[in-house]
Amino acid sequence: MQALTGIFSRILSPFRRNRRQSIPVIPSVPEALYEEQEIVCHGTVTIHANHVTVNNPEPPGSFATMTIPADSRVQILYDGEPRTGRMVVHEGQTIEIQCNDTAPSVDIQLQPSQDLFEVQMSVEIVVGERIQVQDCSGVRNAVVEIHAEPVYPPERSVTELLRLLEAREFRGDVDMEAISVLASANEQIKRTVLRGKRPIPGKPRTYQPTKLPATYDPLHRRRRLNTVAVGTTIALVDPGYPGISGRDVYGREIVAETPMVDQGLGPGVIEVQGCIVAIRNGRPLVTARRIDVLAELVIPGDVVSKQGIIEFDGNVVVFGSVLDSSIVRATGYVEVHGGVLGATVYGERGVIVREAIVGSEVVAGQSRMVYAELYERLKEIESALQRFHHEYEEVMAYVKEKPEATQMSMIGAILLEKRHRPLQKLLENIIEDKERFAADEKYQRLVNDLKTGWVGIGQTRLTDKDIARCRSWFADYREDVEIRRGSEPANIRAASITSSVVKASGNVTAVGAGVYASTVEAENSIFVRGTVRGGFLVAGQTIRVHEFGTVAGTESSAKVNGVNGRITIDVRHVNTLVDMAGKRNRNISPEYGVKYKGDKHGHSYTPHRRFA
């Protein structure tokens, strides 16, 4: 103490000498602070293996505390009551730690694929938790820390997984590697564990065309196969092979499909020892649908009416023109190197005219058009017959209960005449149209059957069997017609078309001056490089015209029936009508670059806008 005072005196002495200054006086240290400290025993907490031990303090020590978090994984009970927060603890309390462990779980699912050729197994693992409170030893303020240890489910056995497959009656090739991976998985995983056997489709019988010489044809604007002689091999038969059936994951047999090829042989060829051979001289026709040899009739000059009607089973090639009142009908193409003037030309596979069509009727693909129309009529007849049959049955059931009813055999005829006249008319139309289908044997047979049973006196003996038989005739024939109406579309091409009726089951193209005062109908498209002046254009899909109408406002109409069709006109004069799938537009001012697509009208501009 005296030493300290001495030290302080020496430090302060310079300050003391100058007593005039105000110098702070440092108080002396009280003696009590330099007394020896006593060791204090505070209370402690020890946590070990989820067990709490508390030691009380010795006075003047303070009791230990525990801070318990609010966590659902752990519950700490003080004398049986759960507590959270900071608590003072002492030996008299019973402190219990309860850990809410979660057990691991496994969910195994089997899912066959949509095509039933694979089975996928998915293992969903939910990892459990073992909860433990962090150990601490002899701590005065213990903070409970929770430690979670993941617990994984035990591995599945391969046998167990295989049994699951058996229980669901799956059969096939088991992928053992995938099963092993799934058995030992510790996380969510999916694998294909079983496979069926997919069928292997067969290859259909096809025809491979041989390499035949071809020459560029300026009229057709493409290379065409040269004409061939009888005995020429046109194609080779590829027999194909049958498919191999498979099995699905339930072990059921799945038959292999062999795709059908719609390529038939025409009457101009036969199959000889794996070869398709021409049986007549003519021009080979090789398309996706047909292989044939079409005979060709070559007319070196003009066709005139005094030659009579030219009907030919094959192609007709006219190196001159087809003139006044001549009629040319061909089952193949008709090629005219001159013009068609005041004549009638029917080409089943197409008509090509180098020059103009004037004052004529030209039709390409007439069978397809005619059978398309017949198909609709047959459908109508089938519906009408169904209604008639239904009513006939009702009537017969009703009448049988009436003792006063007589002449029941007349019921059919009376019903037809009085209540089903549209059906009667439809059947009469079929009979009247006999000439149009003179070459169709099935049609002719149908007409004969109708004449005996459904018209005139035959009607008076109509029975339920007759009606059923009639329905079956029409159903069969309609299927036949459905094939015929699906034949390849035929096109017409000419330099210009004037005052003519032109119809095609494919496209109509005017490559020269244009179309004047004519009716042009095409099931597909109409293309006019020049001008359309007056007349009607009706197409199924597309109309493209360079100039539509005239400056003088000649009334001209164009119509596309297809809802996804389009009309394109470079120059559209006034007073022209455009009908796009029922939406009609008639303009009163010229337009340029007109494009109608579906129900949209875009990209057109009128003169004042053009110069804007």
Partner: protein, 143 residues
């Protein structure tokens, strides 16, 4: 027998086109082509027709008025009105012997036209499909 048809349209090109169309259809025979209605009455007095095709807009005349005048004098004649407008059907078609066709015409339109004319000509009595079957049967079976 072919349906004798008279064509009336103020546009020469349309008249030519219609003539072509009707001529190539097996059910029709074109007996005359006129560009105005004045000549029509003169024509009808000299030559009977089964049907007349009239454009709704005949230059300065109204085709509907012409149709009405013709119907008054020639009740048996079937009339088809042609137009570029498709909203005239409800005005034009209430009369039984009148059909409305929109331009451009095609084969199907002519088929429909032919059917209507034939129906009109045969004077078909309305058939009894509208009657409930049981009523119809009772009438039939009554001695």
């Amino acid at each position: 027998m072919a349906i004798r048809i008279l064509l009336i349209d103020d546009s020469l090109e349309t008249l030519q086109t219609l003539c072509l169309l009707y001529t190539t259809h097996p059910d029709f025979e074109v007996v005359g082509m006129l560009t105005n209605s004045r000549d029509a009455f003169t024509f009808l007095e000299e030559q009977p027709v089964d049907a007349i095709s009239i454009d709704i807009q005949l230059g300065h005349e109204s085709g509907i008025d012409v149709c009405g005048q013709i119907r008054k004098r020639y009740k048996d004649v079937f009339i088809v009105m042609c137009s570029v407008f498709d909203d005239m059907a409800s005005i034009v078609e209430p009369a039984e012997a009148v059909l409305f066709l929109t331009k451009p015409l095609n084969q199907k339109d002519l088929d429909r036209f032919s059917e209507r004319v034939r129906s009109h000509q045969s004077g078909d009595a309305p058939y009894e499909e509208g009657l409930p079957l049981s009523h119809w049967l009772d009438r039939l079976i009554k001695p």
